[in-house]
Symmetry: C2
Subunit: 250 residues, 2 copies
C-alpha cells in the first residue's frame, strides 16, 4: 500500500488535542474523516507530535497508508475541500507519497515548537486563544539567560506531566531561545523529542524568571530537583505551536 506524508496546519482551539478520544473532537479524527470521504477507507494516521488540547500547529507531520495511488496534490486539495466542508480548523499544507520506511513519529529526528506570550497591559483582541497573555512586564533577556541552563541532556522530571507515558525522563534539549518582538515574547524550543507538557512547563517556569519571582539559579535548582513539585506554573496551551519536524533527507 502506498504511504503518504501529510503536512498539517491547525488551530488547536476547538480540539481536544491531536489524538483520537471517544466523544471529543480531535485533529486526528478530523483528518481521518476527510480521508474517509476521499477514499472510503477507515484509516489510522500517525502524527509526529501528539499535541494537547488547545495547542496549535503550523507544521505537524502525519503519515497514512492508502489502497490507491494518488497524486500528492490531489490528496492535498481533496482533503482540504472535505475539511473545509466539515468546518474543521485544519488544513493540509502538503501531501506526498513516501517510502514504506517513513514513519511520521518514529523517523523524526527533531521537533520544533514556538511559544508566544503577549506581554502588555491590554488583553489580546486579535490574538485571543493564540497567545498567553501576561500583563506584568517580563524581562526577556533574563528569561533567555536562564533558559540556557536547560540546554543539553538532563532528567526533565520537573518539567514533565504526571500523565507522561515516556519510559525515561531523560531528554536532550537543543534550543531554548527567548526573544522579545515589541509586546510579544517568543520562545523557540527544539529537541529530538519532548516529554508530555515539557515545553509548557519550561515556559511557565521561565515566566517566573521573567517577572522576578525566580533567579536563574532557582530555575537551575528546579531542574536538578527532578521533582514535578519544583516546576512553576504550566503555561496554557493557547500560546504553543508545533512549527516543524525534521526527518532524514530533509
Amino acid at each position: 500500500m502506498p504511504r503518504y506524508r501529510i503536512d498539517l496546519e491547525y488551530d488547536g482551539g476547538p480540539y481536544a488535542g491531536w489524538q483520537r478520544q471517544a466523544g471529543l473532537p480531535t485533529v486526528q479524527q478530523a483528518v481521518e474523516e476527510a480521508i474517509f470521504r476521499l477514499s472510503g477507507e477507515t484509516v489510522s494516521i500517525r502524527g509526529a507530535g501528539r499535541t494537547d488540547a488547545g495547542v496549535h500547529a503550523t507544521a505537524q507531520v502525519a503519515h497514512v497508508d492508502l489502497m490507491k495511488q494518488w497524486r500528492g496534490d490531489t490528496v492535498r486539495d481533496a482533503l482540504n475541500a472535505h475539511l473545509r466542508q466539515a468546518g474543521e480548523r485544519v488544513a493540509v499544507l502538503a501531501a506526498a507519497q513516501v517510502g514504506d520506511d517513513f514513519d511520521a513519529r518514529f523517523s523524526a529526528l527533531g521537533r520544533h515548537y514556538l511559544y508566544r506570550i503577549s506581554n502588555r497591559r491590554a488583553p489580546p483582541a486579535l490574538d485571543k486563544g493564540k497567545v498567553w497573555w501576561v500583563p506584568k512586564a517580563l524581562d526577556a533577556g533574563a528569561m533567555h539567560h536562564a533558559a540556557q541552563l536547560l540546554l543539553g541532556r538532563h532528567d526533565f522530571t520537573t518539567f514533565r506531566s504526571s500523565q507522561c507515558q515516556a519510559n525515561s525522563p531523560i531528554r536532550t534539549l537543543d534550543r531554548l531561545d527567548v526573544t522579545r518582538l515589541g509586546d510579544e515574547i517568543e520562545i523557540r524550543a527544539s529537541a529530538r523529542s519532548f516529554l508530555h507538557n515539557q515545553v509548557r512547563s519550561m515556559v511557565g517556569s521561565l515566566k517566573r524568571v521573567g517577572d522576578g519571582a525566580w533567579t536563574s539559579a532557582d530555575l537551575g535548582a528546579a531542574l536538578e530537583a527532578a521533582n514535578r513539585a519544583a516546576c512553576g506554573q504550566v503555561a496554557p496551551p493557547d500560546g504553543l505551536y508545533l512549527t516543524g519536524v525534521d526527518y532524514p533527507d530533509g
Copy 2:
C-alpha cells in the same frame, strides 16, 4: 470636560463595522457600553477610521469626553475589564487625557492600513478570517510595480464604494507597497484619508495584476477611467487592518 484619546485593537470578525447601527453589534457600541459601565455616562465616541464589517484594527484611535478626571491607565484597565466581561473582541491599548483640540477623526494627518493575502494552495486554518485566501499564485513583484501607478493625487472614483459619502473622489495616496513573506503577501497603504472601500478596491484590482489577468497598463487605465465599473473585485474585509493613525506632535 476632560477629553481622552483611546487606542484600540479589535478583531472585526464579530462586528458589523466600527459605526453604531441599530440592532447590530459594532465596535463603537462595544466601547461606549464599556465606558457606560466605567463612568455611568452615555457617550458618543469618534474614531479615526470608520472600518467596515469584518475589518480589523491593530491601532484604531478614538476620542471621548468624560465628566471626571481619570488616570489614563485607569481608563485603559477598567475598559479592558468591562470589554472582557462582555466577551467583546476589542482591547484598549492605551488611554490618555488630551487637549480639547484633539479630534480622532479630524486631527488625523495620515492613516495606515495593512492588507494580508494568504497565497497558497491550502486554505488558512490558523488565520481563518484574518487573511484573504488566494490559492492561485500571485506575482507580488508585478503587483508592487503596478501599485506605484496609483501613488499621488488622483480621482479615485474607480476604487470608491457606491455608498461612499465623501464630498470629493480626489485623494492623495502616499504609499502602496506590495511585499511577499513566504506564502503571505502584505500590502501596505498610507494616505491622509481614504475613500470608502478604497483599500479593498485597490487590493482587488492589484490581485488581477498578480494573477496575470491585468497588466500594469490595465490598472492605470482603470484609474483613469474614474468609473466604478472599471474596478476589479473588491477584496474581502478579512485581510484588512487599520494599523495606525498619525497626528500632529506624534
